[in-house]
């Protein structure tokens, strides 16, 4: 199983039956493919869909039906379409149970940075700030380190924040970590790696109480 699939496979287990879930651009949108076809979940897309589902087959694509990432998607029975004010009313009034979201950086206090790299990347804000601040539960999906091998899981974020103290859980290709009042607690290790090796790859201090090594699953 690839590092990406390891994240996605584990992330799919975060989705509680009967819940309403937003899947951010990037890795999170792929989680849907790791859910059973009949799984009882409603996917919210910021552009005005509740009940979005997997991508459409090329011959069945509707040019007027994309998700917020621009992919041509399908919908399930019981879906609804609505305007952007209603879409964000749902978000700000905390009707979403879970948002899975990507990160440039995430830290031990649950701070999230994923919208701007000053001087390098600032395409705008999109729905990220409202989702991060207002969803009941935020799970960050991220590679544990960046392309240069540097930890993305920090003691304190350095980039401009998307929202403060918003993250509940981090799922990386290496581990599942919860943000707690005592900092990051490792709940599962997702690959063949020791506690010490995981800490070595992580800037933030990790606590291993309650962590159990889990198999890859393959």
């Amino acid at each position: 199983m690839s590092a990406t699939d390891r994240i996605l496979n584990r992330a799919a287990q975060e989705v509680v039956a009967g819940s309403i879930v937003n899947l951010g651009i990037g890795l999170p949108t792929q989680v849907i493919h790791f859910l059973p076809d009949d799984f009882d979940v409603q996917i919210h897309s910021e552009n005005g869909i509740l009940g979005a589902w997997k991508q459409a087959q090329p011959e069945a694509m509707d040019p007027f039906l994309i998700d917020s990432a621009g992919a041509y998607v399908t919908t399930r029975p019981g879906s609804s379409f609505f305007d952007s004010a209603v879409s964000f009313a749902m978000i700000r009034r905390a009707r979403l149970d879970l948002t899975m979201i990507g990160a440039f950086e995430v830290d031990a206090s649950g701070n999230l940075a994923n919208w701007k790299i000053p001087g390098k990347f600032s395409p705008g804000i999109g729905g990220a700030m409202e989702l991060a601040q207002k969803t009941r539960r935020i799970v960050v999906l991220t590679t544990h380190t960046d392309k240069k091998g540097r930890s993305k899981i920090l003691e304190t974020c350095r980039l401009p924040l998307t929202a403060k103290r918003c993250v509940n859980r981090i799922i990386s290709d290496l581990a599942v970590m919860d943000v707690t009042p005592d900092g990051l607690v490792v709940r599962e290790i997702l690959t063949d790696i020791s506690d010490a090796e995981l800490q070595e790859l992580t800037e933030a201090k990790l606590t291993f109480t309650g962590a159990e090594a889990a198999n890859d699953g393959q």
Partner: protein, 231 residues
């Protein structure tokens, strides 16, 4: 009162220097035909309000690439490298808002109000100290209403009185902008007689629509974009 107009006459109502809201989130709901006519007529110094910048060569990106736009008020332009380049070159002022805040600022104008109290991004770098209000023991960010002289919206269906119905993910900002702008120009794929839209299914009521353009056909702009088809 019939509101049908030719596309030339409808867009000619927009002067250079105008502030124009434009519906759509990505392709769906973008009034490409109205935009293309605005490119053809060449009004300049426009301030545009739109969720995104479409993609290079399409929609409002054409207006921006063509130098007709002074300022863009938006949420995210990540799918448009050309507009990012123009912004970075200093040839376009871009003002970013969180997406739902942009939507709500527009709706606030449409509701005849002047601002709203929010707690979104209170302590973020996008919030200036002068936006903060201490009121009844709590601190809020005051988000002021966003008005415009014009709105261009895309509907699936209309009647000749100007009632509109949108389809699928093409609703997005369209009904909000139709409430907010002084003059609302709607394009519709299908225009029928009054009564063709059941009264409970009208998304934008005729009271909000000024001019209506019936589209003879949908150009390729409205179709599936090949580079977004993932395999």
């Amino acid at each position: 009162m019939k509101k049908n107009r030719s596309i030339e006459d409808a867009i000619a109502a927009i002067p250079s220097g105008a502030t124009v809201m434009i519906g759509g989130f990505g392709n769906p709901g973008t009034p490409f035909s109205l935009i293309n006519e605005l490119v053809r007529q060449g009004q300049t110094d426009l301030t545009l309000i739109k969720n995104d910048a479409n993609e290079p060569g399409h929609g409002i990106s054409r207006l921006i690439e063509n130098g007709q736009v002074k300022k863009l008020i938006t949420t995210h332009i990540g799918l448009n490298k050309k507009v990012i380049e123009i912004m970075n070159a200093g040839d376009l002022i871009v003002e970013f808002h969180p997406q739902g805040i942009l939507a709500e600022k527009i709706r606030t104008a449409g509701a005849g109000s002047f601002g709203f109290l929010s707690d979104i991004a209170l302590d973020s770098e996008i919030t200036r100290p002068e936006d903060l209000l201490d009121w009844q023991g709590r601190t809020y960010k005051v988000e002021m209403a966003l008005n415009a002289q014009f709105a261009l919206v895309h509907a699936a269906r209309a009647d000749t009185m100007g009632n509109l119905a949108y389809r699928s993910a093409a609703i997005n900002f369209n009904p909000l902008m139709a409430m907010a702008a002084d003059c609302v120009i709607a394009e519709a794929i299908d225009v029928g007689d009054p009564g063709c839209i059941p009264p409970e299914h009208v998304h934008t009521q005729s009271a909000f629509v000024s001019l209506l353009v019936a589209l003879p056909s949908l150009t390729s702009d409205y179709g599936v974009m090949a580079h977004h088809v993932r395999h």
